[in-house]
Symmetry: C2
Subunit: 324 residues, 2 copies
C-alpha cells in the first residue's frame, strides 16, 4: 500500500517535471501550457491509488501510463473547447483562443499521440491489455462527445440517454484509470473489473455533482461562476431530471436571452425557481449519493485487504464529498 | 515471398471490407466515406511488400497493422484539409466541407485512435517495438505539418529545411510502413533499418515528384488540375530550388492575383517560364531519380535474396515511374 501523501508528492513531481518535445514550439507550447494551468489530476491519482493497493513502489512503468491518462484527458479538452467555442478553461484562455484553431487541432493531435507513448511504457507483459483498454476507452470518449453534440440539437433527452452520454464522456476514462492501475499493479481479472466499475460509477457521480454545483455550488469552492450551464442553455442532469419530473416552463426559461448582468441573474433565478418547484436539488444529491455508494460497493468487491477498501472510500469521498 | 497480384487482391479486400463502429453515425460515417473515396494505399502496400519478402502468408497480425497505417494517413488528411481550407480531396468534398468542422475534428480524432487499435494487432512479441515505431512516426508527421504551416508564413525556406519538412510530412510514414512490414515479417534489426531508409528516401522522391507533376504533369495521369501549387502560392520543391538557383521575379509571380481562368492560365505560364529559365524541370527529374536510386540502394542492403531486391525495385518503379 502506498500512502496518500506519497501519491500526492509523486503527482506533483510528475506534472511539474513532465517533458514534451522542445520544438517545433508552435506545436508543443500549447501542451506545456495546458498541463501548467493545472487541473485536479483525478485520473492519474485514481490510477496510482488502485496500483498502490497492490504495490509499494512507484516506477516509470506506472507513472508514465498514469501521466498518459491525464495527457489524453487534456487532449480531449483542447479539442472539445474548439467544438464548444469555450474561451476559458480553468480560468485561463483555451488553446484555440490563446493561439488559433489550427494550432488547437494539431497540438491536440500530437497530445493524443503523446498519451499513447506514455501508455506504451506499461510493462510488456500487460501491454496488449493496457493498450486495448486504453484504445477502447479513448474511442468511447469520442462517442460521448458526439452524443453530447447530437443531444444539443434535440429538445428532449431521456435520463437513460443522458446517463449513457456522461458514462462515455466521463465515466469510462475514470473506469479505465482505475483498471489500468490495478492491471499494472498485478490485480486479477475479476478485481480489475471491480475497479473499472468503481471508476465508472464514480465518474457518473462526479459528472452529476458537477451539474449540481453549476446551479447550487459555492463559486469559491466550485472554481467557476455559478449558473454557466443555465446561461448557455446546456443540457445537464438537472434539466433532464426536471423535464422527467414534469417541470413547467423550463424550455422557455432556458431559451430566454440574457445579455446584461441583471438579465443573467434573473434568468438563473427563474430556472432555479423551476428546479426548486420539483425539488431537483434533493433529487440530485440523492442521485450523487446513490452513484458513489454504488461505486464503492462495486469497487470493494475486488480482492484486497481492509486498507484497500479504505483507500477507495477515501478517494470517493475526496472527489464527491465537496457536494454533500 | 508473396506475389504482387496476391498483395493487390488482399489490399482490395482489406479496404472494401474495412469495418468501423456503426454508431454514432455522425462520428463514423466520415471514416467510411474517406476510405471509400480511395487513394493508392501506398503505405499498406509498402508494409505488405516488405513483410512478403520474409513471409508467405497474410494473417490479421500483418493486415490489421497495414490497414492502421492507411487509417492513420487518412486521419491526417481529414485534419490537414481543415487547416489548409481544402474543399476537395481525390475529386470529392473534404470532410469539413461535406459535414462541418466539428465533425472533421472529432471524426479525425476517433480515426487516429482506430489506427492505434489496428497497430495493436501486431504480434505481442514485437508489439512494444511496433508501437514505439508508430508513435514516433505519428508525432513526426504532426511536426511536419507544423513546419509546413510555419514555412507558409516565411518568404524564404532553404532546401535543407524543405527536405526536412517533407521528410517529416511524407518520408517517415513510408519509412515506418516499410519497417513495420519487415519487423512483423521477422527481419533482423539491421534489415529493418535498411527498409526504413528505403521508405524514407522513397517518400522524399514521391513528394518531389508530386511537386514536379503539379507543374509539369499530365492532368489525366496526375488526377488533379495542373498548376494548383502555383495558383495557391504554395512552397514546393520547385519554388525552393528556383530561389536557390537565383530565379528572377518568382516571388512576385507567385503572389500575383488570378481570378479568371485566363488570369490563372497566364499566372501558371508566367511562373513556369521562370522555372524554365533556370532549368527546374531537369533539376527536379534529376533529384527524383537520385532520391529513388538512393532509396533502392539503402533498401537492398537488407538481408534478403534476389527476389526481395526485385520487389523493392518494382515498388519504387511503380511509385515513381509515372514521373520519369
Amino acid at each position: 500500500m502506498i500512502p496518500e501523501h506519497t501519491l500526492d508528492e509523486a503527482l506533483k513531481d510528475l506534472f511539474a517535471n513532465i517533458q514534451f518535445q522542445p520544438t517545433p514550439e508552435g506545436l508543443y507550447d500549447p501542451l506545456r501550457y495546458m498541463i501548467s494551468i493545472g487541473g485536479k489530476r483525478i485520473r492519474p491519482r485514481l490510477c496510482l491509488t488502485t496500483y498502490g493497493i497492490y504495490q509499494s513502489e512507484l516506477t516509470p512503468q506506472i507513472l508514465e501510463p498514469a501521466a498518459g491518462l491525464e495527457v489524453f484527458h487534456t487532449f480531449t479538452l483542447i479539442h472539445d473547447d474548439i467544438m464548444d467555442r469555450s474561451p476559458l478553461r480553468r480560468g485561463h484562455d483555451t488553446v484555440w483562443k490563446k493561439w488559433n484553431e489550427d494550432t488547437a487541432i494539431l497540438s491536440g493531435d500530437v497530445m493524443c499521440i503523446d498519451a499513447y507513448k506514455r501508455i506504451a511504457k506499461a510493462p510488456a507483459a500487460v501491454l496488449p491489455e493496457a493498450l486495448a483498454l486504453f484504445s477502447k476507452t479513448a474511442s468511447e470518449v469520442c462517442d460521448g462527445q458526439q452524443l453530447d453534440m447530437d443531444f444539443e440539437k434535440r429538445s428532449r433527452v431521456s435520463m437513460n440517454e443522458y446517463m449513457q452520454m456522461i458514462g462515455l464522456k466521463t465515466g469510462v476514462l475514470l473506469a479505465c484509470s482505475a483498471q489500468m492501475g490495478a492491471l499494472i499493479g498485478g490485480a486479477d481479472k475479476w478485481s480489475q473489473e471491480c475497479f473499472y466499475e468503481f471508476g465508472y460509477y464514480l465518474g457518473l457521480a462526479f459528472q452529476v455533482a458537477d451539474d449540481y454545483l453549476d446551479a447550487y455550488g459555492d463559486q469559491k469552492v466550485f472554481g467557476k461562476p455559478i449558473g454557466g450551464d443555465i446561461l448557455n442553455g446546456k443540457k445537464s442532469w438537472l434539466t433532464v431530471k426536471a423535464q422527467e419530473m414534469g417541470a413547467d416552463g423550463l424550455e422557455e426559461a432556458l431559451a430566454a436571452p440574457a445579455v446584461t448582468e441583471e438579465e443573467k441573474s434573473a434568468k438563473i433565478a427563474r430556472v432555479k425557481a423551476i428546479y426548486d418547484s420539483v425539488g431537483i436539488a434533493d433529487a440530485a444529491r440523492k442521485a450523487i449519493g446513490d452513484l458513489s455508494t454504488r461505486a464503492v460497493f462495486k469497487g470493494t468487491d475486488a480482492g484486497m485487504d481492509a486498507s484497500g477498501h479504505q483507500a477507495l472510500k477515501d478517494f470517493a469521498h475526496s472527489l464527491i464529498g465537496r457536494t454533500m
